[in-house]
Symmetry: C2
Subunit: 193 residues, 2 copies
DNA sequence: GAAAAACGTTGACAAAAATCAATGCTTTTA
DNA sequence: TAAAAGCATTGATTTTTGTCAACGTTTTTC
């Protein structure tokens, strides 16, 4: 049930089986069907969500109802509205399933209990945050410093398998482009080769 | 010397004076004159840098030598090439002083020693990272979802005092715009009012 | 299994932004 | 303090990107 969760955890911080037990008690499994919401704008993000299986996306809406995808999450990723989770504030993100999902949820109270009882948990969270921050910073740097074509190439090297799982117009949205522009970028690149 | 550093620390995690002593021993003060480098591309980012006084920027260069500013840091901020620091890898960022600076440096070995000896330090780092991640995510979301004018307004509400300290063309760079475009955005906005 | 919806591509056009150049002003620097 | 460098703005132009529409294909859905 929580295989991947603990595999990832142990890759970073090795746990004893007692420690695993302690954590396991505080986790909640959840299945989500494709298109179902994990979180809707205005809800309070009560959980951190780890993806055992499947794929999700996070997005915001503007006043016209246009979607802007801010994140994807696949197996082994963590997703959630961190601001909402940390501050018990209404979420600005929507998160829904792109495929049927098996998720592992960690509630706010479970999170706090683990921070109290298990220093290794805090270490793991710190490492996760560090990685997430570095990735996001790279994405931002690419956004402001690279011309679109190179940004696309960097993106496709970073997430080589994403095209099999996510429609292209969502990737465009994630990159801050219109679907037509991304399509044209792709044909331009493949013509060059 | 380390006033602001400990003030910020104690705002998040309260320290005893013994704990402050322990940390203080491991900090290194550094002064930097305007235009001096804290870090150059290719160096290994050996320190996390806390700003007691002054202002710095981080930027990357493209092959033509154009600068793209990825971050500013003022009093109370932390700056550094996190990837380089964590992985002892060559930095991709350049960091230099926009004003004369008083800095507090924390070396990699000091960082590791504190993580070992002082759980509160890890908590503080975790909280810093959480905030930094949330801010960066907001910046990214604004970048892909807001039209330029609103992005500018959001930016100027987020950092209202920045215009007194940073030339406008650097703000343009930070926002991923040409200086001319930012100038025009500003006149458009002020004409509306 | 048929109808509907979603998707990616292409073309024509409009809008936005970058680039290039010139100007006047302010700040640095020698 | 004079010269140089840095800076913000504006205009003209080019390039890039978005928008709107149409089309054929694939995937969902009932």
């Amino acid at each position: 049930m929580y295989d991947l969760f603990f595999r990832k955890f142990n890759e970073r911080v090795a746990l004893t089986s007692e420690e695993e037990m302690l954590i396991k008690q505080l986790l909640t499994p959840k299945k989500l069907r494709k298109k179902q919401y994990l979180l809707q704008e205005g809800d309070t993000g009560k959980s951190i969500c780890f993806v055992e299986k499947g794929a999700l996306r996070a997005y915001v809406l503007d006043e016209k109802g246009n979607e802007y995808i801010t994140a994807f999450a696949f197996e082994g990723y963590t997703i959630g509205d961190l601001y909402s989770f940390m501050n018990a504030a209404p979420a600005t993100l929507n998160i829904d399933a792109l495929e049927d999902c098996e998720l592992v949820l960690l509630s706010k109270s479970a999170h706090e209990e683990l921070l109290q009882k298990l220093p290794k948990y805090e270490t793991y969270i710190r490492l996760l945050l560090t990685d997430a921050y570095i990735m996001l910073q790279r994405r931002m740097t690419n956004m402001i410093s690279l011309p679109i074509e190179e940004r696309y190439i960097a993106f496709s090297e970073m997430y080589p398998t994403i095209f099999q799982r996510v429609p292209q117009h969502m990737i465009a949205s994630f990159m801050g482009l219109s679907p037509e522009t991304l399509s044209r970028v792709r044909t331009r690149i493949s013509n060059k080769k």
